[in-house]
Symmetry: C2
Subunit: 236 residues, 2 copies
Amino acid sequence: MVSASLAVTPLLVTLNDKILKIGCRPDKPREFDAIESRDNPVIIAGFGRVGQVVARILRTQKIPFTALEANFEQVDFVRKYGNQIYFGDASRLDLLHAAGADRAKIFVLAIDDVEASLKTAQMVKTHYPHLKIYARSRNRMHSYQLLDLGVTVLMRETFLSSLELARDVLVGLGQTTAEADEIARRFRIHDEQLLDRQRAVRHDEEQLIATARQARDELERLFEQDRTAVKQEDKA
Amino acid sequence: MVSASLAVTPLLVTLNDKILKIGCRPDKPREFDAIESRDNPVIIAGFGRVGQVVARILRTQKIPFTALEANFEQVDFVRKYGNQIYFGDASRLDLLHAAGADRAKIFVLAIDDVEASLKTAQMVKTHYPHLKIYARSRNRMHSYQLLDLGVTVLMRETFLSSLELARDVLVGLGQTTAEADEIARRFRIHDEQLLDRQRAVRHDEEQLIATARQARDELERLFEQDRTAVKQEDKA
């Protein structure tokens, strides 16, 4: 019964402080208040670790957003911290419409689940082609799939923190912060170029492996050249 | 029988190309070759998305490392791309010893599973207190727990990519890249300070919520002041 009603009626509900205070539980009916958010320029689909940071930064700039989150437990957690949040499955066309996808400018695809992310990207691309998608991706393969769907701005979710961790390790081993920053910067450029090149050959697994090995050797040569250049500068 | 032998003998095995070529399967006995890696300055525990990036960057700098990975499927995937990898549970004392934890300088804790990460951190802190730990953390709570164990260098795994995504959204909405970079930079400093403050009150949930709300308002005021300052400079 519950799932049937979910399929018919867009369940878009504010979990604001007032509702929290009167102790409303997830299984009770909720106020439908999509209208007030229809003209928000940004829709954030997925309100986990990534979506929350994006939302918090937008909030500091007084940029209104409509957040969609499918996982009710997650919503229950988030609302305790005072955020405004709406409930629903972002890949549902009726919910996207209710959330104002026809008027928004930017769609932040911050869903962690790969399949749900791709389904939502496909739906947005098909029905709201004017929306610019900014996507969180899980890994290289998810990135390839998003790119195939026409999503052009994407960020692998653990990539930048990994780079920073590696940079800190280099400093811990005695490199200067400037050297370590430069190595991380070059590696990022290299790896993002490699992602593009690998995407072209990803359906041929053997070639993909060869590309990765070739790239590893190429990167090593690149850094070797960098180090030689740095040494020469030191001598001058 | 298999688990009994695992408990007695450190199972530290090279999954190199040679073994791959002769078609060795995970359930067959493997060569024990820990000795060659005993003097590596860096141990990387967890060879997923984070550990791999750290390893690749170290490799470009010719810094040898010993990688430990518990998940065999993950290893099977990784070895196809030409990396060197060792197999084992990083929280096991005998394996840490075999991996050269007594001689290494740096321990990169890149395990994704929170419980396994904490167990390993505890083991390293207790038995190899000289090792400097650089940790990947899942979220704020995992960060608090690592800090409580004495881990001082840590990076939330999705935090920096979230910041970058938010920065890109701000640019997409019309801010300059310089403005967006500055907002992201300030937010990072603010949020890392907030993490420290929240850690102190985390056992009191109500206070934690109040702190988060207070911080949200504080951050908004901070950005408001920043914007005013920027406007005044424009006038001058």
